[in-house]
Symmetry: C2
Subunit: 488 residues, 2 copies
């Protein structure tokens, strides 16, 4: 061991005196960052490779001072940050982290438990179970739903479709697999044309193949047409397919359209098809009594995903997955290993309900956030976002140079510039692409886009906890100004 | 809005003055927790339901004070914590979080970026790329490996096997799927009898079915027998199977045995079978020059997983996945969506390489830890763990009442009590089960167990950053004392 004598620092962890000192510095750093965040460009003005190139090729041989690490966060990391916590980040489904959520992550890292089995951390398992009940209550969801927290909606939806497959237990896919078995029928997964591409990814991963997804057409409001679903199922059955799963979306990614769960649920019940509801972004709106129509008929669904990390001020990641059929989910994912065997038959081992064995203590975030803000505090914030979006939508509707491209049920508005003298669609697409680029390159606002019926459409998402009326007004002014510059 | 007037707190986030105040309190809380952690029982002495039952049924209508939340962490959460950060936690593969890792999680939550695409956070993407290079250097891995950070080893291995399937591109599984296609051959996945059960879970999830795994026998040191693998492949091919993937393990979960990557790699190269290496726990040991033999022949592998959250003092979760064939991985998981389209062809969009779209800023943890401790500091700690395990193993070997049950290449020792007067295996199993229960119920030490050739075996894992020689000596004494009590 002589040639490897401990250098600088002895064995063991950072001394807790340092943890306190630098912990306080980092807390102050984050507070100052959030106070001054509007001074940063939302989108960094850098090119690929710029950050990589200023970082050293090799890790240091000897430990470095924490001061130098903090200095490099400022000098080398901040210039390449896209500021998701910025009040003018209005792209995608903006996710923001609130103070209580940040502190919960700090605590979770300090405890560093793995909530794989009950006995590997009873508090983590039982707080998770309790938080699932709280979520069910605030979203007014059926009490017979069982829940688990995964990382992302992509993971949640993959688990849903895997459970849908396992429900067809007579096919014995868990044991015998899907391949090389000529006796098996082709399976079909249904979603609307507007469903998130994570459904396609799940279907590829699970071995169904892209061709097994049947995309159901949408109506003029971008909602799955239940009659078309019914026809597709009928036709598929006639052609020897076995319908396996329908994925309906409450709040699609492009336009936040809401599939009719009630009607789709009736079809699925009649046909005994697993209904999975992807409400990753919009589900949070069900915290408002006036928005609970979005889940009408949800008791007919078999599973549901809502991501508190999207619109509930929860640091990424936290995805709430609910199902009426936990036994089917468990059959799809449980395997026992002697080295993990628990002894408590009356306790939940969440590892039996998912692909991931390691599980972070995510429910602390739910707990801190629901308690700190209270249900009413969360309702106020969600309601205000919806109000601001409606105001923005009205402004678009009243402005002759713009056009709204989809209904606005939540806090996302789809629109495009459409000056009356331009009628050519290609020209309009080009104009809007330029408009978006010019807006985003200011660093003052970050919007995203989608395509609807081949039209280039700009999306504004108002769901950040630091986004207020003034930010939306500034956004309006910037959008109008940038359009005027283009038209001049 | 009148009936919903904002109560107590207005809109927006927790004021940053509060974030600072409670942030400092939480940092001090964690420092004190880590200072006093040895006063807590490693395993909580509670029954299922005890934590759940003291938490309220409903979330509060109005927001609560942060003081009350902190009080409840102490009163309601701590009593049900299994203390993974405890120096006497020596069960499973103990994972511990270091100070720099905890601070990195704090920063990650404060920034709250989503590293799905380059432009959604260039720094997160590029720091991740750089950290992968650092890991490759410290573990002395081939430079032509490409890498990505996932959450857990289960996820990493699932991606590996999915890529192995995609490599058989002539089967067109991505497009056409695996089911109902009589022209497809049955595929085979190989692992040793000692491989982790996450491999079985992956195989179920991907639709191969449990029957598609062929478990290869192990030698007396619990290592896959390459000759048996070769025979199995030959036999399978004769019977019309198509070999798809071999999973070898460096550091199996039960005994930390090391499969011979070099020989297995040669077989896989000859047969053109994807070789995935699961080095989730033990891969970290390759930071020591004297341990780099574990990866002999690794250049013949197609993919590799190492979990810094297991033995590199990184808060859960962080799983390093490397592959020689990123294009195959990308083909298995990429799908484009207009609403996410990036513009930088020369930048990496990590979302194209995995099932999860949302991606946390995990590489901050790697950066803080490698810089704070330095390569030498990390080497000292890993080397000390291995030294302590060897000492413990020698103590077992010299003690006539105990028996070592497997070689000790790393920091896990498999042993059992075996007093000379007891020869009946059932009696020995019962004795060791009781011994383990009696040790764990003291709250002074947490060990786990496994079964080897139907023998109940106790495992001690020495890999925590707060675990020192004294803790291992105390563990010895406690084990011996508890055995003597049983034998008296």
């Amino acid at each position: 061991m002589n040639e490897n004598k401990p250098a600088i620092k002895s064995l063991g962890d950072m001394p807790t005196s340092e943890l306190k000192k630098y912990g306080h510095q980092f807390v102050d750093w984050i507070a100052a960052y959030l106070d001054e965040i509007e001074n940063y460009p939302v989108l960094p003005n850098i090119k690929p490779g710029e950050i990589k190139n200023i970082l050293p090729e090799n890790p240091p041989e000897k430990g470095e001072s924490f001061e130098s690490i903090i200095a490099d966060v400022n000098d080398k990391i901040l210039p390449g940050i896209t500021h998701w916590n910025h009040p003018d980040f209005m792209a995608y489904f903006n996710s923001t982290s609130s103070g209580p959520g940040i502190l919960a992550e700090l605590l979770s890292a300090g405890l560093n438990v793995n909530a794989m089995a009950w006995h590997t951390c009873p508090s983590a398992t039982e707080l998770e179970e309790k938080m699932i009940n709280w979520y069910k209550k605030i979203f007014n969801l059926p009490q017979n739903f069982w829940g688990i927290i995964y990382d992302t909606a992509s993971t949640s939806s993959m688990h849903a479709i895997a459970a849908a497959r396992e429900q067809l237990s007579h096919l014995k896919i868990r044991e015998k697999g899907m391949i090389g078995r000529s006796e098996l029928p082709r399976l079909r997964i249904y979603s609307s044309e507007q469903a998130h591409f994570s459904i396609d990814k799940s279907v590829i991963t699970l071995g169904f193949g892209l061709e097994s997804i049947r995309k159901i057409p949408v109506d003029e409001k971008f909602r799955m047409i239940p009659g078309k679903l019914k026809e597709a199922i009928k036709e598929d059955k006639q052609n020897g397919y076995l319908p396996c799963c329908v994925v309906a979306t409450v709040g699609t990614t492009s336009t936040t359209s809401v599939d009719n769960i009630d009607e789709i649920g009736t079809i699925c019940s009649e046909e005994n098809i697993w209904l999975h509801v992807d409400a990753a972004y919009a589900g949070t709106a069900a915290i408002l009594p006036e928005m609970q129509w979005i889940f009408k008929g949800i008791e007919k669904s078999d599973s549901l995903v809502i991501n508190p990390h999207k619109w509930m001020f929860t640091p990424i990641d936290l995805s709430l997955f609910l199902t009426k059929k936990p036994d089917v989910l468990k059959r799809a994912f449980s395997l026992s290993a002697e080295y993990l065997a628990g002894e408590n038959e009356d306790a939940t081992d969440f590892m039996d309900y998912g692909i991931q064995l390691g599980r972070r203590f995510r429910s602390l975030k739910s707990w801190f956030i629901m308690r700190y803000f209270g249900v009413e505090g969360l309702q106020n914030r969600i309601r205000e976002h919806i109000r601001l979006a409606k105001e923005f939508a009205e402004w678009i509707d009243e402005n002759p140079k713009f056009e709204r491209m989809a209904p606005t049920p939540f806090s996302v508005v789809c629109f495009r510039a459409h000056p009356q003298n331009i009628t050519d669609e290609d020209e309009l697409n080009e104009l809007n692409q330029k408009l978006l680029d010019n807006i985003n390159s200011t660093g003052k606002l970050f919007l995203s886009h989608t395509k609807l019926n081949n039209k280039f459409v700009i999306r504004i998402a108002i769901s950040g906890i630091r986004t207020f009326e003034q930010n939306v007004n500034d956004a309006r002014n910037l959008i109008e100004q940038k359009l005027n510059e283009l038209l001049d």
